[in-house]
Symmetry: C2
Subunit: 520 residues, 2 copies
């Protein structure tokens, strides 16, 4: 339900998402006064920061601070700007394209560097229309308000138009701050081939090779660096193999795609360039200015241009495609790796608990503790049982078979299908991602997040947690939730496979079998 | 050849170990002026320090510094204090015990905190002697001068008395700075069981358990910490298994054991407590004072007492033992792990070179380079051939068999042997470690280091490199040296196994076979 003019509103007291602790970033100079006044136990190593003090928690009266909190609780009106260009052939198939327009201070990098790219696309499409061209599908350009405080503009709009969006939206393509460097796209794994084709066609302004070639070069060298994690090494290997589509990272949260992907189940992408320069020092501060952005972040706005060319192509190819752009094998294979990850996570947790229990039994924590720097004994971990991953395992086998059948059938027979069937297939592909939604959504007051594959972490914010119902249940020691959500994920993946089988039936026509080979 | 009064001396110009670049530690405040004046290429990530500047190398005239170097090249006399207590039964079997007495400034922690423990031992032994007791073997207490500038006092003494030491010395037991915390012993792997027995008998002043139990507790918890490396994990596993002797780390350099172990092949130990408190901030500085040491490093000198009890027991048990204290299975098994390490190192280097070559072929370094922060292309790695590790592999099989036979024979029949045979066995065990020396020593001007198993790294200083001739040849891309030194290591280990077989023959008597089962 969107927070429109006459909407029913919770009182502030009844809103569980408004925390009771005031939170405000402060400078390290101010923080040092507070932190160095604490005199209780030394904190565990992972709590320590970079200040030249011994970090303590708790303390005496000397460490008391008087905090005055003045909040402006008045309601403000947000202005989303929505521009619709109706499609000539499939007006009820929508391509959504958005970037927010609000910023914390001047907002030159965040959000305007992405917003100018979106405006450039809109202008180019306007030129095309003036020359007589019309898009086949409906283009919806969305300039969001209130992103910084809580993704407000996009969330309220998505909730208000939820039913229509679930019927019509094929994809949501988001951008936000942009910088010079390497193309980075996060999003739904069914869209990897589609993104890879666009990335091969856009030229990198700095090197003159395609932005796909450049992101592959970056992934290769990054995978050889000292700090490379398992995922970076895996991506480096894929990047070195030109026969493979460059993978997308899963979406967490932190920009306006969240409602579309995680609440409505609309396949989404978040697109941007970056990774060069010395990092995000001005992010969300008063130093994020025109001067800084134009001098250091994207001199000559070369990467604003590259972004417009990338997202513009994504919009137009989705709008003009005769057949689905999705490749479901990429999705199925990636979900299989997520399943491996959560199984390994459970094994690792189990080993950690066993090792910790052995150390408690040997009194090792007490005996190895330095009394002058003690942070006390660790919290005992809960013993980790074995879980029933079978519902996901079986669903992944089914999903792989259905995806393979779909991709093969589309490649073999798609081009020759009647136009009406092609249109139906595109519409079905748009809806297929919604199979990943399951009621009652994620546990712990996060039922708004209904996607069983992609979510932001409960405590990670930007960072994604894939198969979140299971992964976070393992992390948080909620053992019964592991089995519960494994069953729900299995159902979601099976429903997804069902839609792929529907697609195969459409491709093969009414006379052929409605089931994919290997499906049951 | 020791630098005694009339010794022949190299001129300064002819001494290859006196470097031509002046080197002096300076404060970060001074260093920042120099570093921030550099304006050439941005340095690679691994060269960057913690200052809040972008690190460059090279630059313009603005970065020129005028350095005035004034050196005092006059010769100084060093004073080693040597106290000998002649043994009553085996006067020609020597137990060496040393600690240096010179310090950079006040030297409260380094070296005096170790030196007071040694003085306490000497005093206690003096009391025993006054009461009528005499050690069975000769005790040599050594208070070294000139350790800080270059291990000078111990090196010149060891070189001067090399021939006699190689005949008589059974072990060299070193201490240096000491602090509160956990027992840490580095040294010859044949001595692990001997050290473990002593550690089980000394009580930790802080916790009241044995210092062995406490170091095990520490190893267990450290192996579970986020930064634990492979070795820490392995030691943590051993620590959790009370049936296994706690392992010794290999000796590198940085204190007075170096000449004994690496030049003369005398089994050595370096013993100390530490690991509590906030680290070595005062090390080698004017802040290493009585006040600092007695207040923060070892309040009440509890760990000075623990050290004296530990090293005193080590000295007296070696002096009074009827039979060899060595357990050669520990040595053989550990050398086998070193062999695994260098084989893995070669494989890893090969993979790195292959990966780098692939990246060069794909132009990945150039394409992923940020021109504003470029440190240029990496140096191409040399292709890594396959090596002949067989000489070490065969020697390790032989060594394991001989060690097993020796340990078993000693345990089964040692106690019943005639006193003269027991004495011969102890003497043989003292000489056995010298089998690890091979001419011409390590390559690259480091022929003084003759031990084929233990050396300080060419570039690591304190840090040990085991199987150094092979390990460093792989690291430095000197491929022909790998095979050359693999052969030399194989010979050294075989010579070592020969001495173990000699021991087995001594134990079994003239009638029994002189060869260990499995030996060839």
């Amino acid at each position: 339900m969107g927070a429109t003019d006459g909407a029913k509103r919770l009182t502030r007291e009844a809103a569980p998402t408004i925390l009771k602790l005031p939170v405000l970033p402060i400078s390290y100079g101010d923080a040092e006064h507070f932190l160095s006044a604490l005199e209780g136990r030394v904190v565990p190593a992972s709590w320590r920061g970079g200040l030249a003090i011994t970090y303590h928690a708790g303390g005496t009266d000397a460490a008391k601070a008087h905090i005055v909190v003045k909040s402006d609780w008045s309601l403000k009106t947000l202005y989303d700007v929505v521009a619709v260009m109706k499609g000539s052939e499939h007006p009820d198939q929508w391509v959504l394209r958005g970037n927010h327009h609000d910023g914390w201070v001047f907002g030159a990098s965040d959000p305007l560097s992405g917003h100018v790219a979106m405006m450039a696309e809109a202008k180019a499409i306007g030129q095309l229309v003036k020359s007589g061209w019309r898009p086949k599908r409906t283009l919806v350009y969305l300039s969001w308000d209130g992103e910084e405080p809580m993704l407000l503009g996009s969330t309220e709009w998505a909730e208000t138009h939820a039913a229509e969006l679930k019927k019509k939206a094929l994809v949501y393509i988001n951008t936000d701050g942009n910088a010079r460097g390497f193309l980075r796209v996060e999003g739904s794994h069914s869209l990897e081939s589609y993104v890879a084709k666009v990335a091969t066609d856009v030229v990198d302004p700095q090197t003159g090779v395609s932005v796909d070639a450049r992101r592959r070069a970056h992934a290769m060298t990054a995978s050889g660096s000292a700090g490379a994690n398992e995922r970076a090494k895996e991506v480096g290997k894929i990047a070195a193999d030109p026969s493979k589509d460059y993978p997308l990272d899963a979406l967490g949260s932190g920009s306006d795609y969240s409602s579309f992907l995680q609440h409505l189940g609309i396949a989404s992408l978040n697109v941007g360039y970056g990774g060069e320069g010395s990092g995000g020092g001005v992010y969300h501060s008063a130093y994020d200015t025109w001067e800084h952005h134009s001098k250091f972040v994207d001199p000559g706005f070369a990467y604003a241009g590259a972004l417009a060319k990338t997202t513009g192509r994504l919009v137009l190819r989705m709008s003009e495609a005769d057949l689905p752009v999705q490749r479901y094998g990429d999705f199925a294979n990636t979900v299989a790796t997520y399943l491996d990850e959560v199984k390994k996570l459970a094994d690792k947790k189990r080993e950690e608990q066993t090792a910790q229990a052995r150390m408690f039994a040997a009194n090792a924590f007490k005996l190895s503790d330095d009394p002058t720097l003690s942070s006390g004994l660790p919290t005992p971990l809960k013993a980790v049982p074995y879980f029933n991953f079978a519902p996901i395992e079986n669903a992944v086998v089914r999903l792989k078979a259905s995806a393979k059948a779909y991709d093969a059938a589309l490649a073999a027979k798609g081009a020759a299908l009647p136009a009406a069937t092609k249109g139906k297939l595109v519409e079905l592909a748009g809806r297929t991602e919604q199979a990943l939604l399951m009621e009652p959504g994620l546990p712990g007051g996060r039922g708004w997040y209904k996607n069983m594959i992609y979510a932001p972490g409960r405590l990670t914010g930007y960072g994604a947690k894939t198969l979140p119902g299971v992964r976070e249940a393992i992390e948080d020691e909620r053992w019964t939730d592991v089995d519960t959500y494994a069953a729900m994920i299995g159902k979601a993946l099976t429903a997804y496979a069902d839609r792929l089988d529907e697609g195969v039936a459409l491709i093969n026509g009414p006379s052929a079998s409605a089931k994919a080979p290997g499906a049951r």
